[in-house]
Amino acid sequence: MSAEVHFFAAARAAVGASVLQVPPGTLNNVLNRVEAENPGFATVRPQCSFLIDGIASLDPEQSVDDGARLDVLPPFAGG
């Protein structure tokens, strides 16, 4: 049972990995687990937005199911 968490840009740099397999749970649970194992994620996390299976999620209680994909997106900086 696991969800796949994809990290981009500053989030990837903070975590030191592009993808982590994490046990399913709420968005908050999953991010707490990532932060517990990668303390550097704490500074980037509050600035990030999140996609669960491609859909933006603003609710920390939303569930990240087994087999789901969670994308962790730092603030955009295009142009």
Partner: protein
């Protein structure tokens, strides 16, 4: 000059009369001239272009290497943004391209070109297109400075 064989990642190109001539994420050099040619239309009296170029300095520090990373959804989001600008403004033709990967100093990261009948609309639509790309396009800028330090822009 513009053949049928131009390959772009935009379904609207299948319509020869489509307003959106180009909306693409690319790893190649963006030629403003090419985008300006794409939006050329005898009905359009005004063309406004924006080119956002990679600078050799940022916050007073000298930049050695700059690159952009794009989220897999970047192409879809850019197409969506172009569609919104078309819906909101009286645009005759539009082309927009964002480059990802390493970009040498002085080359363009973002080029947006809008052709309209009247000039006020061209300025407004082009500026809003650029602002919306800056706000919503999921891409990230990484800078390595000449002093060896590096940063992901907009990330404290």
């Amino acid at each position: 000059m513009l053949g049928e064989g131009i390959c772009v990642n935009n379904d609207d190109m299948n319509d020869d009369r489509g307003v959106i001539r180009l909306a693409e994420i690319t790893e190649r050099v963006i030629e403003t001239t090419f985008l300006e040619a794409l939006v050329f239309d005898a009905r359009a009296g005004a063309i406004v272009s924006f080119s956002g170029n990679v600078r050799d300095h940022d916050h007073g520090r000298s930049v050695r290497t700059l690159s952009y990373e794009g989220h897999p959804s970047a192409q879809a989001v850019l197409t969506e943004i172009a569609d919104e600008i078309e819906a909101r403004f009286d645009v005759v033709r539009l082309a927009v391209s964002h480059r990802i990967g390493p970009i040498p100093m002085g080359e363009a990261a973002l080029v947006a070109v809008v052709a309209t009948v009247h000039r006020g609309e061209a300025f407004a639509a082009c500026e809003e297109l650029v602002n919306t790309v800056k706000e919503r396009l999921p891409v990230w800028k990484h800078q390595i400075f000449t002093d060896g330090t590096e940063e992901w822009v907009n990330c404290a």
